[in-house]
Symmetry: C2
Subunit: 228 residues, 2 copies
């Protein structure tokens, strides 16, 4: 059985990506990160999701990248701004080089378990100025992984990074997820650290807009925007 | 003043690299990793070295990559073999994708402090089969960093990875270090987790051989191979 490492934040994109990998017959190895994010609830969500998906192994990596701040997601002295779905500048929630760090660690894990596939749920359509969600970066990273791991560079077992939603909108992704039976109610999107989604940060706004456009009910959220 | 992030393990190569960056006038930001290595003494060495070098800021990142093993450096169920300087296969001390993880985190730190330079003390002459010490990997990683960080991809502030010893032997490196006044006695090379260097692992053997060939006294080690 082909093995795949799936980056699983506990959010919507990574959950749909996990179900897509499952539908393609991969043996599933999931990887989540505690990098000092204020929305640690996503990690509880990730753990719940892995149980339903039937993953072979779930790993949580802890890494203290929050020590140099630079992002409102990890710097407790900064605030998560209210969202604006029409913004064009780079939001303060950008975490420097986050996907590069995650993919590097995924490569280490993949090599340790001899998996030739890594899945990541990024999209460059709705990428919010996060340059590490674009295909040019994903391809560059795949190349670095294949130069920098013994399995790829010396043992002819190259690694592929799959980013199945790179050219899909969140709306299209939700439609795919609905067909695959993703338990949307288990996923967590809100950037703020509360017990319930705030409904006003970028991530909450994008989620609500995409569910509405997809014509899919967000099982996790009541009609008034409260978490069930 | 130009800022540089220097990967500092506490070993010989990274210490000489730090002194080289210092001699070139960079403002020095050092980065060490506790990744579950059994030779944690190198981290004490790194901290001591930063005091002598006069670095602006020293960061220690903790990351539990040892949870998936795959290397005798991090897997406590494996043994560090005695070294063989003539070996051609990949030693069990290889840690999957280690330099990729380190460089990714260095890129995150560099972006957070707006540094356009990252230094790493790898050599592909004495690379012991570690493919992540080769120039092809370093160049691929530099490209990934420049695609995946906002400062490089959107703000026209590209990042350069400097690997000044990539085509140098350890012997040449030690000669350079001696000229620059590197306090070799503070550096730590041994892979085993003891209080004193074992003198028989790959890292101890390569160090001893290189000092001998360079005609430089290893201040850290007595004539019988003991740590002073």
């Amino acid at each position: 059985m082909k093995r795949a490492v799936i980056l699983l934040s506990g959010g919507l994109d990574s959950a749909v990506t996990l179900w897509l990998a499952k539908s393609e017959g991969y043996e599933l190895f999931t990887l989540s990160f505690d990098y000092g994010q204020r929305h640690k609830k996503e990690l509880e969500a990730a753990a719940e999701i892995t149980k339903v998906a039937g993953v072979k192994e779930h790993r949580l990596v802890t890494i203290n990248m929050d020590q140099w701040g630079g992002s409102s997601l990890t710097d407790k002295n900064m605030e998560v701004e209210d969202g604006d779905v029409n913004r064009t500048d780079i939001p303060v929630t950008y975490v420097p080089a986050r996907n590069m760090v995650f993919l590097s660690i995924a490569a280490s894990y993949a090599e340790a378990i001899d998996a030739q596939n890594i899945f990541i749920g990024v999209s460059q359509v709705d990428y919010s100025g996060y340059v590490d969600c674009r295909e040019s970066f994903i391809k560059a990273m795949e190349n670095a992984i294949n130069q920098g791991t013994v399995m790829a560079a010396e043992k002819n077992r190259p690694i592929t990074i799959h980013a199945p939603f790179i050219y899909k909108t969140k709306t299209e992704e939700i439609k795919t997820g609905a067909k695959l039976g993703v338990p949307f109610g288990l996923t967590w999107s809100c950037y703020r650290g509360g017990e319930k989604p705030c409904g006003t940060c970028d991530s909450c706004l994008l989620r609500a807009k995409a569910f509405q456009e997809a014509g899919v009910v967000d099982e996790g959220i009541t009609e008034t925007g409260e978490r069930k």
